[in-house]
Symmetry: C2
Subunit: 579 residues, 2 copies
Amino acid sequence: MLRHAVVRFPAAFKRINVIRGGCVAQCSPCRSLEIHRHSHARVMTSAAAALSSSFQDKRDTGNTRAVVLLALSLIAGVGGIRTASPAQTEAGATDAGVKEIEYTKADVQAHKTIETGVWVTYKDGVYDITKFAENHPGGNKILMAAGGAVEPYWNLYAVHKDPEVQETIKEILGELRIGTLKHSPEDEKEVDLDDPYAHEPERHPAFKINTLKPFNAEPPGALLVDSFVTPNALFFKRNHLPVPDVKEEDYLLEVAVEGGKSFKLSLEDLKRDFPHHTVTATMQCAGNRRTLIHEVKHVKGLSWTGFAISNAEWTGVKLRDVLLWAGVPEEYERLGLAHVHFIGLDKDISNQTYEASIPINKAVDPRGDVLLAFAMNGEPIPRDHGYPVRAVVPGIVGARNVKWVGKVVASKSESQGFWQQRDYKNFSPSTDWDNVDFDSAPAIQDMPIQSAIATVEGGLEGEEEGGPLTIKGYAYSGGGRGVARVDVSIDGGKTWEPATIKEGGWKHGDYSRSWTWALWEHFVPEEKLEGLTEADICVKATDTSYNVQPESIEAYWNLRGVLANCWARQKVALRKVAA
Amino acid sequence: MLRHAVVRFPAAFKRINVIRGGCVAQCSPCRSLEIHRHSHARVMTSAAAALSSSFQDKRDTGNTRAVVLLALSLIAGVGGIRTASPAQTEAGATDAGVKEIEYTKADVQAHKTIETGVWVTYKDGVYDITKFAENHPGGNKILMAAGGAVEPYWNLYAVHKDPEVQETIKEILGELRIGTLKHSPEDEKEVDLDDPYAHEPERHPAFKINTLKPFNAEPPGALLVDSFVTPNALFFKRNHLPVPDVKEEDYLLEVAVEGGKSFKLSLEDLKRDFPHHTVTATMQCAGNRRTLIHEVKHVKGLSWTGFAISNAEWTGVKLRDVLLWAGVPEEYERLGLAHVHFIGLDKDISNQTYEASIPINKAVDPRGDVLLAFAMNGEPIPRDHGYPVRAVVPGIVGARNVKWVGKVVASKSESQGFWQQRDYKNFSPSTDWDNVDFDSAPAIQDMPIQSAIATVEGGLEGEEEGGPLTIKGYAYSGGGRGVARVDVSIDGGKTWEPATIKEGGWKHGDYSRSWTWALWEHFVPEEKLEGLTEADICVKATDTSYNVQPESIEAYWNLRGVLANCWARQKVALRKVAA
């Protein structure tokens, strides 16, 4: 068979347009003896390369769209040169009328690396983007889509939805189409109606999945630190039980005061009767970075690498307003009230629901900003994140931000639920399952200062050029404490420089209401790398209470593997730079 | 000359009563060729020794008085046996009518160690307590009085004021009297009337003085951790300027609201017009433990070893009540108010006063517990601590707990004073005086988790017996975060055990209103010391937000040397125990 599409490059591009064929060896999953000829168009011009490089250096997110457009235009050769039209590429046949090769999902999934070739699907088309990936204006993040559909990734970045960009993208894809996606019986989901997880929502393919049932997954760090507000589709997922299938029309929130009355509110009541507030707040799982604790001595718990944290704009009503309306006095102490419980609608097989509580001070404080939220980044809260209503408790560990809240209780005592009393606590390194006294430790509420490295770019071994290093990541502290500073070392902690806080972080005068993470970036100029073969990168953040991260994890090992907040470290081999 | 007093020991004590003489070599400061004969009565019986040892082991503070009485009785041989009467010892002459030797203060000061002999004065008497010191029921704390007056130490411990104990003490002293204190012209204070420090209050001799003018001093750790509430006389002192001499009748507190009215309140107004509240709160200097930072690279600042921290019961009126009365609304944001300034009455030579501010949220929060305090441990606040009124801001660094408050202002902006803007901030280790940007860092308000070792007793090299180790100290965290746990290691941090929190520390359900330190104690049984020649003691505390102390200080060095909160460490040589 022949390449399916007529590729028309402008004259200037032709000399670098290499058509390669004979990939039988590479395409083992195709299990066909036919020789496929894929498009491996090297379309980088020096202009586009310079542009791409300037895009990297400027790190100008505000101007992304213009740069993307220009880069895409250059790559696609827009400017009077005709390329394959969308009609040609989406119709399942070339303009020469040749029927396309059909590929299964498995075929596509087998093409995830530069070595095997990078394939993606868009609608029913299969595309070989191996060479285009190098020139993607958004960098190599496109490789995350390798072996699957590109739509979920485009959904993450508004730029792809721009009609002009869409047009250009389709033009480029036209050049790279290699076949049609074949619907195979194996693609059909087998639904076991007895499985409590039979009705889980769809999830973004980028997630690194920790467990499927319940679904627990973190996004790739590179995507996470790309935006201050995490897109809903990428927000880390921590489910303790199957996702309940709640219908808005059936939903009733019970609000009760111990020793007082109990009320039921529909979602409409909640939205109509209380003022709406929007709070940007970061949520983190207590087990974030647990992989470090596993390395010392294995513990029970999900192996979060460092991205079980995300940031969103939550909209809802203030829990304070609902509680005062329900009869909780500002001076709640006189009724002996001390905690507020959230009971979820998610149930285990014995019908036990998830539940947790927070100190009532946090709930009633007019500046505590606790929400019963119904929207996340301007959309109804997705099912995985608590549709239709979840508790959003800024500054407090994810486990108390109860999803699918069915009941709120102002109580004299702390929740006696498993996750409040027998989990999410931290102990001395000498405490293990044979001698643990769970009652001796406080339930985790707010959290210590934390940071992680998400990406290290430039100057690395294996790269064609040396150049400076750019290190990016996040930092976060609980309890409303802002991130005051992030220090970065490239010599294993001997010397430190403060990183640049790009967004979030400490605001003058605010010591108690910093609910978000800070995204930081650190630039190491080439001259500082001279003579080095390795950078031993260390990162430590400091919050506004000047709490710090400890150097290593050993002395903070704990049997539940929670609150791993030692320095973030990564060793990278550097490309040797000519003196 | 002869020994001054007739010592009558019960028969059973006589065989261990050793009278030693000929101390010319030891008594060099006496500059006399006469041979003095001092009483070195070895008065320990096996019963008293057993009692003393049981006192140590039980660590029973509640029963101290009874034990002291019994021990003193045994030592003094009370039980029908006549000893020297107070009349004999206080009259300056023996019952034989012999005139006593006269000693100067300098003579007494030269006897501070077991080697030179331990002398103390009581009223006009001079006493050699070298041997008694071993048997002192309160342990070797009595040695702190060596070379000076004992009265200030008795004042610290109520037991010494018990009439029965007083009687016994005087009887014992009668036995140990060696002379009379001679009033010498050098003892007279020279008062330079031009010296702004001419009218400073008297201070307890136990203090380790950092600077005299202004007076900055910390108490010995052993005395400090002896009581949960620090006696006024021992509370650490951190003065930035001379202590003002404020008369109650002249005192007026100005209360102003930016853009609003201003009021003046006398101390009587304050006490009469607002409800009184008592709050137990720990105060800590930001520079506590700065000696550790000096060790890495010297910084400006007082060399606090680890005891620039104390705990008291403060009584006063709530700042919240005064502010609301003065017109600050609960929703202070609508007037743009954001900070509350405290302006002291202490002035430098250019008439600049000390001042600082706190976030208004802390001041107005009904659970923030900020006081305008007029009493400390039930007494009017001593001059050194802010007489007649000081700000007490629980959970916040000492520097904002402004003493001698003359003015309180609810303001839109932070204090622009030196100590708010150009001091008491923390920076990256790469920041030094040539590149510091003070505006880039938040002013220290609350403080990170902290701990220190105060005493290590038992089993040490040089001691007659092996035995277990008992380690004592404190832990503290700012911002209302309680001390959740203290871990102790004796192997340099390889293994850890949780210490016993004796008082203070985390209370179930309280995450935001823990204002005090925790006193802890850790007991290492003898069998755990077997084969060890050294204990490398490490201590790290954890607060209710699970903030931790970092291992070492190097990576946290900062040019102002503040907030040194790495692990507390002490290496001790152990006495070899026979296998």
